[in-house]
Symmetry: C2
Subunit: 330 residues, 2 copies
């Protein structure tokens, strides 16, 4: 009801309209539905980078340096900082955000922190909706930054065309710290702070891990009809120094190489398919949970079931099965 | 299929059977259903304490000291360490667990770390099932320890009769760090490291926060039929020193006072009701998500929807609504 004016302004690249709409989709799924319904046909222009790394790996500096380059190339950049473990570590991220904001007084960079806010409506669902708003707002690149620890972050990264994982020589266990599910969908490994001793050892560790890995990102057999085989993408490793910008030319080349790979092989189709499936799943999870919660509080049959469970005549799993029947699902 | 032997041993207090069954319910919801179905009628003896606090607040030392007292009283204690942000902080918790284990070579203490393992099947669902196993195993007290940051921890604490939050004088922002949802269900605030300067200031801060709070744990009007009013529990604050054991007599008295309060007022009925509702919701979430995931990968109608979304003729929210219709839910 009445987001037309805001959406019109968004389509013209109005920054305040973008900020306002993001707040709305974060907080209210019914409004999110209405807004996404209206803007979906305008999406699809932004290239989405997912960047993760343990606290202290230098994510913010890397993103600042990358963004500076993108802006110089004339691109508009959106940055979404997601931290599902906030508020505990939220302070750090927010501090970084403020530092980042100082770098960019330009209209070409839009930074948004999500902290805990989106959690009620599902963090992955909200992030996906915000990406769409930034896309329609006119961003050429959308960067999603996470700390790489939760299941929701794996879900979030299904929205990214290229997934970048940041590691540093000094941390002995940062490879273990990044959630396994993220490692499996990583396209580019970045060893930051390449000037520190141990950078080459870190590269070897990653190579070792890749050799052991039997999981690959794409279901290649499903990509081309007619059983045509598609070449695989082997995750690339690049050393950089985010503070000095050393080797960023190399990093950008690899990002572009991955982007071309997706387009030329048609793997991008597979990405779209998986992204839509994941998005729909997140929306459904949210809607079904809401429905079940309502049922649990209003249906008189349920009160009787609860009574039986309290008396130990029935266990909660059996009650769940009866409710699935009540919902009419076989 | 065939957990009868293990369950028989569990009922006799066999430690290895308990450990084995816990691993099973953590990893497989279908087996969990079968096991809980068989043991549910034997549950209900354990008193469940939820304990949370930021990293560094001294949770492990507090739990060690508490457990020593409970064991001296002849009680059997189960401890479940939950850390949804693991593996990043998992190292610390596991280290603590090893330290704790050294204290207790007795058969009367059972310690289990969950780290990330239970996440696939839902952390709150798995924790609830483990509580039941420890209950049937013969634990008089089950302690659930979390770091207090995620939504799943709020869900987990709905299983606890008494919720204890640990704060320390030296941390300026630990009140802010604990998730708001947990504060609202806290029964006892513990200021640890009472020997440090600022302990009294911390107590004042908590009191101030409680005065501002308008949220209370129980829906009192629903407890007694016939509109009888029930006295409210005002969260208590207690200062302790976990290392020396100072004031633990006081803490135990308050825990017992809360336990009596629940029983005498009948508020315990309300706790059971909410716990069962929450448990069932967690099980349903898991089952419905699985059902939707299967549908998304197998139904031919869905492929057509996805094609429409890829062509931007339909948005993901509309697709979710069509799937809800496919599931037969109005």
């Amino acid at each position: 009801m009445g987001y037309e004016a805001l959406i019109d302004r968004l389509l013209k690249g109005d920054t305040r309209a973008a900020a306002r709409l993001i707040t709305i989709v974060e907080n209210d799924i019914a409004s999110a539905e209405e807004i996404i319904n209206a803007i979906y046909k305008h999406t699809g222009k932004a290239y989405i980078l997912g960047i993760t790394g343990a606290p202290g790996s230098g994510k913010s500096t890397l993103i600042s340096t990358l963004t500076t380059i993108f802006v110089k190339e004339g691109k508009k950049v959106g940055i979404i900082c997601v931290d599902p473990t906030s508020p505990l570590t939220g302070g750090a991220l927010l501090g970084d955000r403020i530092r980042m904001k100082k770098h960019f007084t330009t209209d070409n960079v839009f930074i948004r922190s999500m902290a805990n806010r989106g959690q009620l409506g599902g963090l992955a669902r909200a992030t996906e909706d915000i990406i769409k708003i930034l896309d329609v707002y006119g961003c050429d690149i959308v960067i999603i930054e996470t700390v790489g620890v939760g299941q929701s972050e794996v879900d979030i990264f299904r929205s990214a065309q290229s997934v970048l994982v940041l590691l540093v020589p000094e941390m002995g266990d940062d490879i273990q710290a990044i959630k396994a599910g993220i490692m499996e969908i990583t396209d580019i490994f970045i060893v930051n702070k390449m000037d520190l001793p141990g950078a080459d050892r870190k590269v070897s560790e990653i190579m070792q891990m890749l050799e052991l890995s039997i999981n690959f990102k794409y279901d290649y057999e499903n990509i081309n009809q007619g059983n045509a085989k598609v070449r695989k993408w082997t995750p690339k490793i690049v050393k950089v120094n985010s503070k000095t910008g050393e080797n960023f030319g190399n990093l950008l080349e690899i990002i572009n190489e991955h982007r071309s790979y997706l387009e030329e092989t048609g793997v991008i189709e597979n990405y779209h398919l998986k992204r839509i499936r994941n998005e729909t799943l997140q929306i459904l999870k949210h809607k079904l949970t809401k429905k079940v919660e309502e049922l649990l509080h209003s249906n008189s049959q349920i009160d009787e079931y609860i009574r039986l469970v309290m008396d130990k005549s029935m266990d909660p799993y059996s009650m769940a099965n009866l409710i699935i029947q009540l919902l009419g699902i076989e």
